[in-house]
Amino acid sequence: MDFLTLIQIFDSSVRLATPLLLACLAGLFSERAGIFDIGLEGKMLMAAFFSAAIAATTGNAWLGLLAGIGSSLVLAALHGVASITFRGNQLISGVAINFLAVGLTVLIAQDWFQQGGRTPSLLDGGRFSPIELPFAIGPTEAEAAGRPLSRLLAEAGPLQQAYSELISGHSVLVYLSLLAVPLTAWVLFGTRFGLRLRAVGENPAAVDTAGVSVVGLRFAAVGICGILCGIAGAYLSTALQAGFVKEMSAGRGFIALAALIFAKWRPWYALGACLLFGLFQALELRPDVLEAIFQTKIQGQLLGALPYIMTVVILAGFVGKAVPPKAGGEPYVKER
C-alpha cells in the first residue's frame, strides 16, 4: 500500500468522522448538563431531511442548513419540555424522538416529493462543495493542466499529497466541526456559563442554591445540542451525500453516543474517538486495503461492530473508567 492510499483513507475518515464529531459534541453539551440524550440519531435524521428538502427547493445549501438546524431545534425543545419541564424519563423521550424522526421524514418526503421517501438529488448550489485551499492540487489545477486529477496527485510529493487530499478539499462544515472542538472546550472549561453548565450536571441543587436557574441552563444545553445535531444532519444530506434517503443517519447518532462515552465526556478526547470511529467506517469501505495490511480477509461486519464493542469494554471499566456526570438522567425537583 502506498502513501497516497493511506492519505486517501485518512481523508475519508475525516469526512465520515465529521457528523460523528458534531453529534458527539451535541451530546457532550446535553449530558454535561445532566440531560441524557439518546435522541441524537433522530435529531440528525430530521435535520438531514429538512436541509435536503429546503436545499432542493431553494437551491441554496445555507438555507437548507438553517432549516435543518430549525427542525433539530424543534425536536430538542420537545426533549427539553419532556425531560426538564415535565420531568419525564429522558431515555424514553429520546427513544420517542428517534422514532418520530424515522416516521415523519419519510411521511413528509413522500408528501412533498413523491419519490418513495427521498428528496430529489441536489444540484451544485444545493450542496456544500469542497473548498480548495491555496496551493492545493484540485480539480481546477487538473483542468488547467488538461490531465486527470488522480495522475497529478500521484506525481506530487508526499507533503503536497497530504496537503491536497487530507487538509484541502473538504466542505466548509468539516472545518466548522473541527473548529467546534476548541470552541466547546473553551465554552465548557473557560467560561462562567460552562462552569455552571457542568455544575448543573453534577449537582443541580448547588447551582439552584447559588441563585442560577437550573431549568434555564438545562434548556440552553439542550438547545446547543439541537443546533449541533442540526449541522450534523445537514452535513449528511447536503455535503457527504447529495440528497436525503430514508433512515440515512444509519446509526451514526448511536456511534456518536459511543464516542462520547469513549471520550469520557471530554471535547478533545471526543475528537480522537470520532476520528478513530471515522477510520473504522472508512476502512469498512475499503476491504482491499485491509487485506493488504493484514494479509488476510477481515470481516466488514466486525469492523462495523467495533465502535460498539469498544464502548462496551470501556463502559465495563476494564480500560480506564468512564464516569458519567453525576446528575445525568435525573430530573431536578426543587425543594419546597
Binding site: 424514553i92 459511543a258 460498539y308 463502559l315
Partner: protein, 364 residues
C-alpha cells in the same frame, strides 16, 4: 393519601395519552391530504374485517406480546431494556440452529426445544449487559443499545458467511424441514368448525405468548422473586436494606427479559418465515417499549396494547396498499404513544391529579 383513584391511574391516563397520540396522528394524516376517518375505516376493515386481517393482527400481536412482556419485567426491576431487538435477533439464531440441525419427530417437541433454544440465546445476549450493570455499574440502556448493533453485525456475519446454504443468493438460512412446521390458526381452528384464513401467519405461538402473559403475572405478583424484583425497582436502597441482592435481582430480571425477547423467534422465524432472514425482527423489539409503557407494565395491559399495536401494524400495511399514506405513519403513531405514555406522562398526570384533588375537597 393517594392523589388519584387507582382506576384513573391505570385506565384514564393511558386512554387520554392514546387519544392525544391518535389526535396528533389524525392531524398528520390531514396534513398530507388524506381523510383521517377514511384512513381509520380502512385500517379497521383491513386489520379486523376478515379472518385474514385478524390473522395478521394476531401474528404481529404475538411478537409484541413477547417483547412487551420483556420490557415490562425489566421495568419492574427498575431496568430499561432497550436491547429487545438484539435479543430477538439472537433468539432467531437459536431457533434456526434448533430447527435446522436436529431432526425433530414432531412439531410439539420441536416447539418445546426451539423455545428453550430461543430463550437461552436471548437470555445470553442480555446476560453481558446485565452483568456489567450489576457488577460494574455500566448503564444497561447504553450497553443494550450497543448490543443491538453488535447483534445486527453478528447476524449479518452468520447469515452471509456460515448459515447461508450452498448456492443461496440472499442472506438467509435454508428452509426449515416440514416436520417443524407450526400449525397456523387455520389448522388449529378447522377441527372446531371455524374456517380461519389459510394465508394468515398467526400460529400456535400465540398460545405460547398468552401463557407467557399468565406466567409473568404469576412471577411478578405471586412469587417471592417477583416481590424482590418489584421492591428493587421501587427502591434500591430499601431492597438492599431488606437483605435482597441487587446483583441477583438485576441478573435474573434481565435474563428473563432477554429470554422473553428471544422467544419471539418461535413466532416470526419458526411460525411465519420458516427460515431465518436478515431483518426478521422488523423492529418488534422496540415496539415492545411502546407496548409495555401503554400497558402500564401489567401483563393484561401488555396484552391489550399488543393487540392494539398488532392492529396498527396490519392496518398500516393496508393503508400503504390502498392510499398514498406510507407505512411509516405507524412509526409516527408508535413514537407518539411512547412520547405521551412514557416521557410526557406527567403532562397528562399533573392536571388530572389537580382535578381529582379539587373534586375530593368539594366532597369533604
Amino acid at each position: 393519601m393517594e392523589k388519584m383513584p387507582k382506576w384513573a391511574d391505570v385506565v384514564l391516563i393511558p386512554l387520554i395519552s392514546l387519544l392525544l397520540a391518535a389526535g396528533l396522528s389524525a392531524l398528520v394524516i390531514l396534513a398530507i391530504g388524506e381523510s383521517p376517518t377514511e384512513a381509520l375505516n380502512l385500517m379497521i376493515e383491513g386489520a379486523l374485517g376478515s379472518t385474514y386481517g385478524w390473522g395478521y393482527t394476531l401474528y404481529y400481536a404475538t411478537n409484541f406480546l413477547f417483547t412487551g412482556l420483556a420490557v415490562a419485567v425489566a421495568y419492574h426491576a427498575g431496568l430499561f431494556n432497550i436491547g429487545g431487538e438484539g435479543q430477538a435477533m439472537l433468539g432467531g439464531l437459536g431457533v434456526a440452529y434448533a430447527c435446522l440441525f436436529i431432526p425433530w419427530p414432531h412439531w410439539t417437541v420441536a416447539l418445546l426445544f426451539a423455545s428453550v433454544a430461543a430463550a437461552l440465546f436471548g437470555a445470553a445476549w442480555a446476560a453481558i449487559p446485565a452483568y456489567l450493570q450489576a457488577k460494574r455499574g455500566s448503564h444497561v440502556v447504553i450497553t443494550t443499545i450497543m448490543f443491538n448493533f453488535i447483534a445486527a453485525a453478528l447476524l449479518n456475519y452468520m447469515l452471509v458467511n456460515i448459515l447461508k446454504p450452498e448456492g443461496g443468493f440472499d442472506p438467509a438460512t435454508a428452509r426449515f424441514p416440514d416436520a417443524v412446521h407450526l400449525p397456523s390458526l387455520h389448522e388449529i381452528l378447522l377441527p372446531l368448525g371455524i374456517n380461519f384464513s389459510k394465508n394468515a401467519p398467526a400460529n400456535v405461538s400465540l398460545l405460547v405468548a398468552l401463557a407467557a402473559c399468565v406466567l409473568v403475572w404469576l412471577l411478578i405478583w405471586r412469587t417471592w422473586l417477583g416481590y424482590e424484583i418489584r421492591s428493587y425497582g421501587k427502591s434500591e436502597t430499601g431492597a438492599r436494606y431488606a437483605g435482597m441482592s441487587p446483583v441477583k435481582i438485576t441478573m435474573i430480571a434481565m435474563l428473563i427479559s432477554g429470554a422473553l425477547c428471544g422467544m419471539m423467534a418461535i413466532n416470526n422465524v419458526m411460525g411465519e418465515a420458516e427460515r431465518l432472514v436478515l431483518n426478521a425482527t422488523e423492529g418488534a423489539g422496540f415496539i415492545g417499549i411502546a407496548v409495555a409503557l401503554m400497558g402500564r407494565n401489567h401483563p393484561f395491559g401488555v396484552f391489550l396494547a399488543a393487540i392494539l399495536f398488532g392492529f396498527l401494524y396490519q392496518g398500516g400495511a393496508e393503508l400503504a396498499l390502498w392510499t398514498s399514506i406510507p407505512r411509516e405513519l405507524i412509526v409516527v403513531i408508535q413514537a407518539l404513544v411512547i412520547l405521551f405514555t412514557g416521557a410526557l406522562d406527567n403532562m397528562v398526570r399533573m392536571p388530572l391529579e389537580k382535578i381529582f384533588i379539587a373534586l375530593r375537597k368539594e366532597k369533604a
